[in-house]
């Protein structure tokens, strides 16, 4: 990791990736069964976005756009806002209304995108 402008979301999505391999993670995959694409921008939505796919059909997190067709829903966030949503600091509905989260795709799929699918980082 030679680059110091890494996103906070990288750490969280890495944790998510590991988490999906655990029993609790497999439960989530079973429960949701959808594919989400997440675009994360360091400062402003739409600029310098990093794309992740959280595949809750297969139980994987991969970097880059989804290649298996169309994701069920695509989200765009700023780095900080994604962390806030995933850790329960910000309500996804509120984030959406405030424009902190942009959604494309199926609304019912988007509504299953809640903080409880993400593992929580522990603190030293």
């Amino acid at each position: 990791m030679a680059d110091s402008t890494k996103l906070k979301s990288d750490a969280l999505l890495e944790l998510m990736k590991q988490h999906l391999t655990t029993d609790a993670g497999k439960q989530i995959t079973k429960k949701i069964g959808l594919v989400y694409q997440i675009n994360i921008a360091p400062k402003k939505i739409g600029f310098d976005e990093v794309t992740y796919v959280v595949d809750l059909k297969k139980g994987e997190v991969t970097k880059g756009s989804y290649e298996g067709g169309k994701p069920d829903a695509t989200f765009s966030f700023k780095d900080d806002d994604f962390i806030k949503i995933a850790t329960g600091k910000m309500n996804p509905q509120l984030a959406f209304m405030r424009g902190a989260m942009k959604v494309k795709g199926s609304l019912s799929a988007a509504q299953k995108f809640t903080p409880d699918i993400f593992p929580k980082p522990s603190k030293m």
């Binding site: 030679a2 110091s4 988490h19 655990t22 850790t87 329960g88 522990s122 603190k123 030293m124």
Partner: protein, 738 residues
């Protein structure tokens, strides 16, 4: 108008500071109370009052104020309440039996015309007479309390009056007693204690309230009226109204804890001396000044004008001569030029020229309807207004004349009234709610941005302020594991000695152990300012930034640790500090750990660094090495646990946390981490118990509240969400014992 309507005029009634348009009582109280907060500005305007004492600036001498204002000889005569004065008063009362009631009704009906406004804003004679004291009990109580508040303007001794039976409950009495004594201290801050007591006793004896009786327990039916005054008076003293909430809440918690506000007031005075109140307020005010700047209090005022100007332009483009001459257009253009202002739902001509100044001066107080109006205008956009008008026009079809006629028939005041009513009926509540939400958000955002900017947020009402040796006390409390208490004591220390690096450092540690990294970072940054080379501070900053996933900052401080270390400083190369790369820093630390393999510290820093790069296996190895050298370091056990948890070995993590908690039972962070590890394993019910335990020790641990909420949802315990949202720990602890 029925009393109930007055006080329940809008949901916003209960919210201090947000005097919604639908809350006439709030408007009145604002008008009455607000003017006293403005006296200072007025004094500056009035040349004769240059001798006003500067030590009572916030509570300016109201007598000066009176003599300086025209017509105040009237007020002066009221200052001698004996013989002549009371004669005058009774004469006044009989002559003007319902004067006050009329004025009151007028303000209710919101079609008040300018002269009446002056009655309420200046301490003119009309605001002072005793009200009529007949009518239904609520009405009597209402006007009676008005006169009490009114008496604060002139500093006139309040006269006990015999009142008809009011049928007040014990709770009402308790509430009136408590609040009137505190409010009186606000009003009469420049008067002696005896005077205040006399005022309050006069009020209480009139209401047949025993001034010594104490009723324990919650207050069932509070007098809503006094409640509102109370809220208004709280809102009045602090411009950033919602910011006030925290203080009020804190205060009422404090009050609940002691059950006796008078005792509190006394102890406060003992602590802070005679001028305590005033100075405390000034301090608060200066703190809040920055909030004001943030909120841009003035901006909405000008924006309101700007909006109207746009509306006026749009309307002026209509070529219909009748419309051009219509009173409505004139009204709008007057408003846009600032010749008319909308003030608490009333349209008033503005003094030409210094409209802006006056407007600002009047509204440096609590946020007003006008502010609110402007905010909402912004969100609605001016076009919508215009659209509404054009829709109406379309409905009238070709009969344009009719429309214009209709408008010209309307008196300007009527229009305002109608508008006010419409607003009141349809959406005032929504507006007020949305506005409150907005303000709360703003406040939260400010606190967040403060914290993320590294500005330390002090607790309100710190009992350790004034303690002879708060640092020692803080260290003692910290050693006992009473983290939240230690935080307060240490805050008192750094308030006393802002350059005390050790005070800030321990405060930072206490916050980190209390699971609040934002505050920990803020405190540690102050510690670092005071002592830039302190290794413990640098390491703590590195850890906290790692927790907050702020890699660049974490790397900076961890490198700083190496550079300032007496043994390893030589390894650091100057060119590196310019652009830090993780690989370089970790290489240096590996080198360092080989130099002195028996130094636990370097292994700890290395472990943190591996956490940054998410090389968890190496991190675990480093921490385990350090633990061999330092097996009783509870924070090290927690670091090991957190690292294991983050590399999805939650079950092992719990074992490590247990070690930490055996060494330090009140380690809030470890309790919260336990909860996280259970939640990440899908054991939500267990996680809830640990979160609740952590929160019982530190109710300010916001992260734990958020995680608790998620676990409650996941465990299908939505029935407890309300207790979580209202932060009701009693209920939660009962439901989820550990």
């Amino acid at each position: 108008m029925a009393m109930r309507e007055l006080v329940t005029g809008g949901a916003a009634c209960a919210v201090p500071g947000s005097s919604s348009s639908s809350n006439p009582l709030g408007a009145l109280a604002n008008a009455i109370i607000g003017s006293s907060s403005k006296t200072q500005e007025r004094l500056q305007e009035i040349p004769t009052s240059a001798s006003a004492p500067s030590d009572s600036r916030f509570y300016p001498d109201t007598n000066d104020h009176l003599t300086a204002l025209p017509g105040s000889e009237f007020g002066n005569s009221l200052l001698q309440p004996h013989a002549q004065g009371s004669e005058f008063l009774s004469g006044f009362r009989s002559a003007n039996q319902s004067g006050f009631a009329d004025a009151w009704d007028e303000i209710q009906h919101q079609n008040q015309i300018p002269p009446h406004f002056d009655q309420f804003h200046g301490p003119g004679p009309a605001a002072l007479p005793q009200p009529t004291l007949d009518g239904p009990p609520q009405r009597v109580l209402s006007s009676f309390l008005h006169s009490f508040v009114g008496s604060s303007h002139g500093g006139i001794p309040f006269r006990p009056t015999s009142l008809p039976l009011l049928g007040l409950s014990e709770g009402d009495k308790q509430c009136i007693r408590d609040r009137s004594s505190i409010m009186a201290r606000h009003f009469f801050a420049d008067k002696s204690e005896d005077f205040i007591n006399a005022q309050v006793n006069a009020l209480l004896s009139s209401l047949e309230i025993d001034s010594d009786a104490r009723v324990k327990g919650p207050l069932p039916g509070r007098s809503q009226e006094l409640e509102d005054y109370w809220n208004e008076s709280q809102g009045m003293v602090r411009p950033g109204a919602p910011a006030v909430d925290g203080w009020i809440t804190e205060y009422s918690q404090h009050r609940a804890a002691h059950g006796d506000p008078d005792a509190w007031a006394h102890s406060f005075e003992q602590q802070h001396g005679a001028n305590g109140w005033a100075s405390e307020f000034e301090k608060e005010r200066s703190q809040l000044a920055s909030i004001d700047q943030m909120r841009g209090v003035n901006i909405p005022n000008f924006e309101a004008m700007e909006q109207t100007r746009m509306l006026a332009q749009t309307l002026a483009q209509n070529n219909d001569p009748k419309f051009q001459n219509s009173k409505f257009l004139q009204f709008v253009s007057k408003m846009s030029r600032g010749e008319l202002i909308i003030d608490d739902n009333q349209v008033k001509p503005a003094a030409s020229g210094d409209w802006a100044a006056e407007y600002q001066q009047q509204y440096t107080g609590a946020p007003t309807w006008a502010d609110e109006f402007a905010h909402n205008q912004l969100s609605r956009g001016p076009e919508q207004w215009v659209n509404e008008f054009s829709t109406e026009r379309e409905q009238h079809g070709s009969v344009d004349d009719q429309w214009v006629n209709e408008f010209s028939k309307l008196h300007v005041d009527d229009w305002a009234e109608e508008f006010g009513q419409q607003v009141g009926e349809n959406s005032a509540d929504n507006w007020a709610n949305a506005y409150d939400e907005f303000m709360n958000e703003q406040l939260a955002a400010k606190q967040r941005s403060d914290a993320s900017r590294g500005v330390y947020v002090f607790s309100d009402m710190n009992p350790y302020v004034g303690h002879p040796n708060p640092l020692k006390e803080g260290q003692e409390l910290f050693r006992k594991g009473l983290l939240s208490e230690a935080v307060l004591a240490l805050e008192a220390e750094v308030l006393k000695n802002p350059e005390n690096a050790e005070g800030w450092r321990l405060l930072g540690i206490a916050h980190a152990e209390n699971d609040d990294d934002q505050q920990a970072i803020a405190a540690m940054m102050r510690a670092q300012e005071a002592d830039p080379a302190n290794l413990e501070v640098l390491l703590s900053l590195g850890v906290s930034h790692t927790n907050e996933l702020e890699q660049a900052a974490a790397l900076k401080y961890l490198y700083g640790w190496l550079r300032n270390h007496p043994k390893y400083g030589t390894l650091a190369t100057p060119e590196l500090s310019e652009s830090l790369y993780y690989a370089d820093v970790s290489r240096l630390f590996i080198e360092a750990s080989q130099m002195f393999p028996e130094d636990a510290d370097v292994h700890i820093v290395l472990g943190v660094l591996y956490n940054l790069s998410r090389e968890y296996d190496k991190a675990i190895e480093s921490f385990q090495t350090a633990l061999k050298l330092r097996p009783h370091d509870y924070s090290l056990w927690n670091k090991l646990g957190a690292t294991k948890a983050n590399s999805v070995q939650s079950a092992d993590a719990i074992l490590a946390y247990q070690q930490a908690l055996d060494l330090k039972p009140n380690y809030v962070r470890a309790w919260a981490n336990m909860g996280i590890s259970y939640a990440n394993q899908g054991m939500y019910e267990e996680s809830i118990r640990y979160y609740v335990r952590a929160l019982a020790m530190n109710p300010k641990a916001d992260n734990a509240w958020q995680y608790l909420r998620i676990s409650l949802s996941s465990a299908s315990r939505k029935d407890m969400l309300e207790a979580c949202d209202s932060r009701n720990l009693d209920v939660l602890q009962k439901e989820f014992p550990l």
